[in-house]
């Protein structure tokens, strides 16, 4: 078996281009996938055209309002605003794909909004959004972003309006000075509390009939004041009616970076091992050496074990190289190497066994490579589908399919090995061991018709 292993390594050395591709392609692929799923989305680039006159602003009485500067800075904190000077420029940027969408604030936007807030204006304030929905995924993203931005803008506005309403109610309840918008005049408001006090103070000098009538007015003033206080609380609560108290009931979540590293490592390991082992086994048949070897030189089981050892060793080397390469950019918990190595070895063994089953079934190098890709790539992707994003029935199906392949337990093992806050590694290790045995058995059966 030792000589066969050396021979396989010699063959790999003789094919530097294939070996380099075999290693670099999955690593590049894995790192890209890891980055794609772990990084929070960048701020969407939006072409922004403001046609509102420079000195215009939104006034909300004596509590203030919005200046254009403030509104712009708050909006551009959520998106990357690419300033445009004309509608045509916005259209061009959207068409060219330079920006995700275009946002145009028309000249009458603020005056219409002001009208909505101060009168019963029938025409709503409208912003214009230009989008390029050249593919369904992008269309979905654009819709989500626009909806999110609109909700945030409306929420911001409602917060300001709530502040104004609360002030007005306070004024009605307790009295005070009130500045009439646009007229620059200040008036004194008596307020319900003071009104009630005045009426009570004069009650003693009134006839019983008059006293009874005044009492009704003072009771109303008290009731109104108390209810306004309640309304005040209600309005204040509208600012953020629902608070979030997050409780983790299942799953240990490692840092997002660790998850990305684990995904990259698991994908690399799976692809390198499955492709190498399936191709190596199929090559024995294509070179007509299988029968020569298994006719007394090595047993069929021995040959499978040799290939599995080759794959597991390759998995260890390539995955450790990947982790070393990532180390300058991401923090790798090398102090947990005593867990990382067993996780890689078990994942490598299970992936090798899968490769053997593929190689034995496909019987040709090209067919086995095709089958390895056709199986490994979709399995890796469906294994990454998070729960809650699809229906329960579909998720169950995904779990069953993903559980039949080594990617998911390999990912969980690596997550658990790389981070103390990752999932426990006991079950994934057992899962990988069972898959190794099962796939070796399938490969052994498939070898019956291999020669």
């Amino acid at each position: 078996m030792r000589w066969l292993l050396l021979k396989d390594l010699q063959l790999l050395r003789r094919s530097p281009l294939v070996t380099a591709l075999l290693i670099t392609y999955p690593i590049v692929l894995a790192v890209l996938i890891g980055l794609a799923i772990s990084r929070s989305p960048e701020k969407p680039r939006v072409a922004f055209l403001n046609q509102i006159p420079q000195d215009a602003g939104l006034s909300l009485g004596d509590t203030g309002g919005f200046s254009q500067q403030e509104a712009r800075s708050r909006l551009c904190a959520k998106i990357e605003c690419v300033t445009a000077s004309s509608r045509a420029e916005v259209e061009q940027k959207v068409k060219d794909g330079e920006v995700l969408g275009g946002l145009i604030l028309p000249p009458d936007f603020l005056s219409k909004l002001q009208g909505e807030l101060t009168t019963n204006a029938s025409e709503p304030a409208t912003v214009e959004v230009l989008v390029n929905q050249d593919d369904p995924l992008k269309a979905q993203i654009v819709d989500d972003r626009i909806s999110s931005l609109l909700n945030q803008a409306n929420l911001l506005l409602s917060e300001k309006i709530t502040d104004v309403a609360v002030n007005y109610e306070q004024l009605l309840a307790t009295g005070g000075e009130f500045e009439i918008p646009f007229l620059n005049q200040t008036v004194h408001v008596l307020g319900l509390e003071r009104s009630e006090q005045i009426l009570r103070s004069i009650q003693g000098g009134l006839s019983p009939a008059q006293r009874s009538q005044v009492e009704q007015v003072t009771d109303f003033a008290r009731l109104a004041r108390e209810n306004l206080a309640l309304a005040n609380q209600l309005l204040s609560s509208i600012r953020q009616p629902i608070a979030v108290d997050k409780q983790v009931v299942a799953g240990s979540v490692p840092p997002l970076d660790t998850f990305a590293v684990a995904v990259a490592a698991a994908i690399t390991l799976l692809f390198v091992t499955v492709l190498l082992v399936s191709g190596s086994l199929a090559l024995e048949r294509e070179e007509n050496t299988f029968t020569r070897l298994t006719r007394g030189l090595v047993s069929r089981e021995g040959l499978l074990v040799e290939k599995a050892l080759l794959g597991t060793a390759a998995a260890l080397v390539v995955t450790l190289l990947l982790l070393l390469a990532i180390t300058p950019f991401e923090s790798i918990g090398w102090s947990r190497i005593h867990l990382i190595v067993p996780a890689i070895l078990l994942a490598g063994a299970a992936s090798s066994a899968l490769g053997l089953a593929i190689g034995a079934a496909a019987r040709e190098v090209r067919a086995s490579a095709l089958l390895a890709f056709a199986l490994a790539l979709p399995v890796a992707f469906i294994s990454l589908v998070p729960s809650g994003t699809v229906s329960k029935g579909l998720l169950d199906v995904i779990h069953v399919i993903a559980g039949a392949f080594p990617f998911r337990p390999a990912l969980e093992s690596l997550e658990g090995a790389l981070s103390a806050s990752g999932p426990s590694i006991g079950l994934p290790f057992l899962h990988l061991a069972l898959l190794t045995v099962a796939y070796l058995a399938i490969a052994r059966i498939a070898l019956r018709r291999f020669a």
């Binding site: 063959l11 003789r14 070179e287 007509n288 050496t289 029968t291 020569r292 030189l297 090595v298």
Partner: protein, 247 residues
């Protein structure tokens, strides 16, 4: 070259086959085959396609299990050379020989590799990858690997198929040299020309049965007189024999 000492032909059977039968589903590939093979004998197994030549050699090599029958080898070791060269084409000639020598547990690996390179005449090409060799040279390495374990009996499955005439001649000279040195060689072929030149004994098979076992002269005699006006041609003699036996 084999490590076995040279043996005189006919010194005694090195391989005894008794009542071999093999079926693949409904098709009977071998029916009650029995034969003894003498030490140093060059035995050609002849027959049309589907006659069961490869099946017989596979069973003798231990690759295929017979449904019935018994094989006895006096020395126990039987070398086998597949029809298609079973070699690692990216490895060099020497690396292939060394790998299989190690796997055969040969004691003096380097000495054996050197001997095989001499015997195949490929000493100068020892560092060339096998993929760069001609079909004939690949077949020589293929046979040399079959000889690494120093077998007393060597089985060759259609060794000359796919070779051009000059490669074929060189190959048969090489095989004849092995037999001269004492190795018993059993080979399958459907080339009567080759069998008549390089076979001490011919076993003709058709429809799963052995229909002739003897020398080429005996086969020609069994085929009956040549029609007048026809030239001496082993192929004509063989076809005449098959027709006479209803095949």
């Amino acid at each position: 070259m084999s490590e076995n000492p040279p043996r005189a032909r006919g010194a005694g059977p090195v391989l005894e086959v008794d009542g071999l039968s093999k079926s693949f589903g409904e098709r009977r590939a071998l029916r009650d085959v029995s034969l003894d093979v003498q030490a140093g004998e060059l035995l050609a197994v002849l027959g049309p396609n589907g006659a069961g030549k490869t099946t017989l050699l596979s069973i003798l090599a231990g690759i295929t299990r017979p449904d019935a029958g018994r094989i006895t080898s006096s020395n126990g070791d039987v070398g086998w050379v597949p029809q298609q060269a079973g070699l690692y084409r990216r490895l060099t000639v020497e690396e292939n020989l060394r790998l299989f020598a190690h796997m055969e547990d040969v004691e003096d690996v380097e000495g054996t590799v050197a001997r095989m390179l001499d015997q195949t005449g490929l000493q100068e090409r020892r560092h060339d990858p096998v993929s760069s060799l001609s079909g004939g040279n690949q077949q020589r390495i293929n046979i040399a690997i079959g000889l690494l374990g120093a077998p007393s009996v060597l089985l060759l499955d259609e060794p000359s198929s796919g070779l051009d005439p000059s490669q074929r001649v060189r190959l048969w000279e090489f095989v004849a040299g092995l037999a001269e040195a004492g190795t018993t060689v059993i080979y399958s072929t459907h080339q009567i020309e080759e069998a008549s030149h390089y076979g001490d004994r011919l076993v003709v098979r058709a429809d799963g049965e052995t229909i002739f076992d003897g020398s080429f002269d005996e086969l020609r005699h069994a085929a009956g007189p040549r029609p007048e006006g026809t030239a001496e041609d082993p192929e004509n003699d063989f076809v005449r024999f098959l027709r006479q036996r209803g095949h």
